[in-house]
């Protein structure tokens, strides 16, 4: 989408119409996550939490998905013993006091896609708090290195090293292709929008076409630890999702990173929105 990637005048607040659309749907998704998280109580199952997200977004006009909402509770937030991708889907695991949870959803609204991850816990969980606080360094590291135009594979390895130094395990490695991020884009609105294994077919189509083009030009829409990611950041929108795991507790954030072809480092890459729950939380902690 040329209109998005050439957003060179993206200073504070002055986003192009395209970026504004993405930001709106990202905010909508985070509002949904916060609304659902506020309703979680002991005994709610992952399936119920996923359904709550789905219904909340449907009521607000979401008809298509990049992927259907996921919910992970307890040690499933760290993908303990995950062997096959089917294990990502919500189960009947019930939420208990002190348990960490992650809500992950990717709605498409008015043709704009967002993919977000929201980590929380029910009651007190010092380990979870610590993980969430330590994610801040990753958000800074990723942005800095993308602005330096480092190859994505190297950035991936640097994130990995930071996690190891912090004492955590890299859990985004468990995602398909071990991705820390993937490209997202606008999606054509259709009357019928089926999903395939939880992923919207329209979005999959977009990803596949990106993969095809990228394969010819030497880049990939999947940001992975493998050689096909050994290229500088490709302009576009990337849903970045570093996921930390620590002995049965996991935490992640996921939000959109805008990469442009601008020469100015500040404008060559920026987080689409800095007013998100996890960012606010870090600011509050610093202020306190």
């Amino acid at each position: 989408m040329a209109s998005v990637t050439s957003a060179t005048s993206a200073g504070a607040g002055e986003l192009t119409a395209g970026l504004r659309g993405f930001r709106e749907v990202q905010r909508l998704a985070y509002d949904c996550a916060e609304a659902v998280a506020a309703q979680l109580k002991p005994g709610v199952t992952e399936r119920a939490a996923a359904r709550m997200q789905r219904e909340w977004l449907r009521e607000r006009g979401v008809r298509d998905w990049f992927h259907l909402p996921f919910a992970w509770f307890g040690d499933r937030t760290a993908f303990v013993n995950f062997r096959i991708p089917l294990q990502f889907f919500p189960t009947n695991r019930e939420l208990e006091p002190g348990m960490a949870f992650i809500l992950d959803m990717a709605p498409v609204h008015n043709g704009f896609t967002a993919d977000i991850g929201y980590s929380g816990c029910l009651g007190l969980n010092p380990v979870h708090d610590r993980l969430l606080a330590d994610l801040e360094a990753h958000r800074e590291l990723i942005l800095r290195e993308v602005r330096e135009r480092r190859p994505l594979r190297e950035i991936y390895e640097d994130v990995d090293r930071l996690m190891v130094r912090q004492g955590y395990a890299n859990r985004h490695r468990a995602y398909p292709f071990g991705v820390i991020a993937h490209k997202i884009d606008r999606v054509r609105q259709r009357r019928w929008s089926p999903t395939l294994f939880g992923f919207g077919t329209q979005s999959l189509k977009g990803l596949a076409s990106d993969a095809l083009h990228g394969h010819r030009d030497g880049w990939s829409p999947l940001w992975s630890p493998y050689t096909f990611s050994d290229h500088p950041p490709q302009p576009g929108l990337w849903a970045v999702e570093p996921h930390l795991g620590f002995r049965g507790t996991g935490a992640k954030f996921e939000e959109i990173l805008v990469v442009t072809d601008s020469k100015d480092p500040q404008e060559s890459a920026f987080w689409l929105d800095d007013d998100l729950p996890h960012v606010r939380r870090w600011q509050e902690e610093k202020a306190a």
Binding site: R130, D160, V164, R165, A169
Partner: protein, 618 residues
Amino acid sequence: MNTGRGRDKGRDQRPVQGSGEGSGQGAGREPGAGLAGATERWVRTGGIELCVAELGDRAHPTVVLVHGYPDSKEVWSEVARGLADRFHVVLYDVRGCGRSTAPQPLRGGFTLEKLTDDFLAVADAVSPARPVHLVGHDWGSVQAWEFATVPRTEGRIASFTTMSGPSLDHFGHWIKRRVTRPTPRRAAQLINQGAKSWYVYMLHTPVLPELAWKGPLGKRWPQILQRVEKVAAGDYPTASLPTDAAHGAWLYRDNVRSRLRRPRSDAYAHCPVQLITPTGDAFLSQRLYDDLEQWAPRLVRRTLPAKHWVPRTRPDQLTSWITEFITTQEEGDPAKHATTRGPYADRFGGQLVLVTGAASGIGRATAFAFAEAGARIIAVDRDAEGAARTAEMSRLIGAPQAWSEVVDVSDEAAMEKLADKVDTEYGTLDVLVNNAGIGLSGSFLETSTEDWKKVLDVNLWGVIHGCRAFGRRMAERGQGGHIVNTASAAAFQPSKMLPAYSTSKAAVLMLSECLRAELAGQGIGVSAICPGLVNTNITATARFTGVSAEEEKRRQTKAARMYGLRNYPPEKVADAVLRAVVRNQAVVPVTPEARGAHLLSRFAPRALRALARMEPKL
């Protein structure tokens, strides 16, 4: 409720120390030499007199220690001393034992009902207002189970710690279930426990046990305890042993048959129970406690690699567990009970564990695994920041205490200093993990003397210093422990790529095996862990000899990527470390390739030699 309560007002008190009149109206024997500083008094109940000793401040919570067979209260001397700082410790000789008098006639004088009378009389005498914390070993525990499950003691017992003594009622039900519905496993359990109970059958024969105890058995018992049960010689057993044992035979004769035949069906504990199971108990199967939650809903389990006489062989560990349990009950903090712990919490809770190389990789994961099981952690590394982070995260996931220490393991003086510091500030180690190591790759002819020195200094001398400094103190304490040395699959897999590294690790493996043989007699286990290719940063920091700095950097990155693709997590190695300690395994290859190499090294060493010639492209 009991006949003696009205009369025990007439009890007299006198300190034991430095008084010849310590022997009063009692049996007229010498006061217990192991209980220096104790105040003794006599409690009259049901026509007999019980000798009761007290230590510690009476304002503190009261702990009553009940001894087993064929012992007297002196069996508790070391535990009592350990508990006296924090608690009001009360010990008494069970009727017919030590300096308490025996009932007349003996037959029928040792029933659990009468023993309960005794306990209530003692409890009322020493702590009339507050419930007491009960601790029992062997027959002391058997009778304490009765105290903790009969209605008339309700409200008098705040908590109960049991070791090596099941409730006869629970035991009866345990047997019944296995006899009435025998599966192969249940039948095997029954036969196993049946064989372990041989002495119970012997004690039911008339007269012979008394004759044996008063004759040759009584004379040789201290040596038997020393040789078979590894109980150190000292103030125990006391001179009263032959009569204690002869009278105590009636404990069995008066209770075992009747209770096992008709076990009570309402034997539910009315207080929180802590079960301490010695895994090497020659008289009691661990399976006896499998269904214990059914009888004691608020159960805390502990296991201890030791033989039957834990109050003598593991007093420090008992003191710490009893203290922790009672303190938790006294504080009554429900959040503390709710903390879920790792799978080995029963084994490592409260133990002191030191891990070297704990700033990253396997060392850090091991520290975390022990922390999750509730152990106290000392994280040692050259990297101060990493070690501090390990200690901090350990506290987050369940370590009651965790410290970091910055020490280079290859520095002997620094290790000695660390050992001194640990000993004075934190206590004696229960588990030592010598894990620190560095990588070195490159052909032998291109490896310089300095490179050799460096790798041997850390990988081999680091382990030697650790084992010397901490192993000596462990052995001196004489209460067991465990040493884990991180060797490598390279210890048995030769390779032309890693001559120096493999040599150092092979030395660590052999050192561990020799040390294991040496320390086995003192209850200290030694394990060598051989991980294999594990995703840690040892590859990124490894030295590659005989190549330019640039090429070295490239190879480090390449090796790190290769290990990353293999992606065997250090957490799994940490699990193997804990398992090795619990099972006291000698050599533990961890990854499948390490296990394969270990197997080949024994059955097809030529295949390994062929592999050694290969050179992976880096």
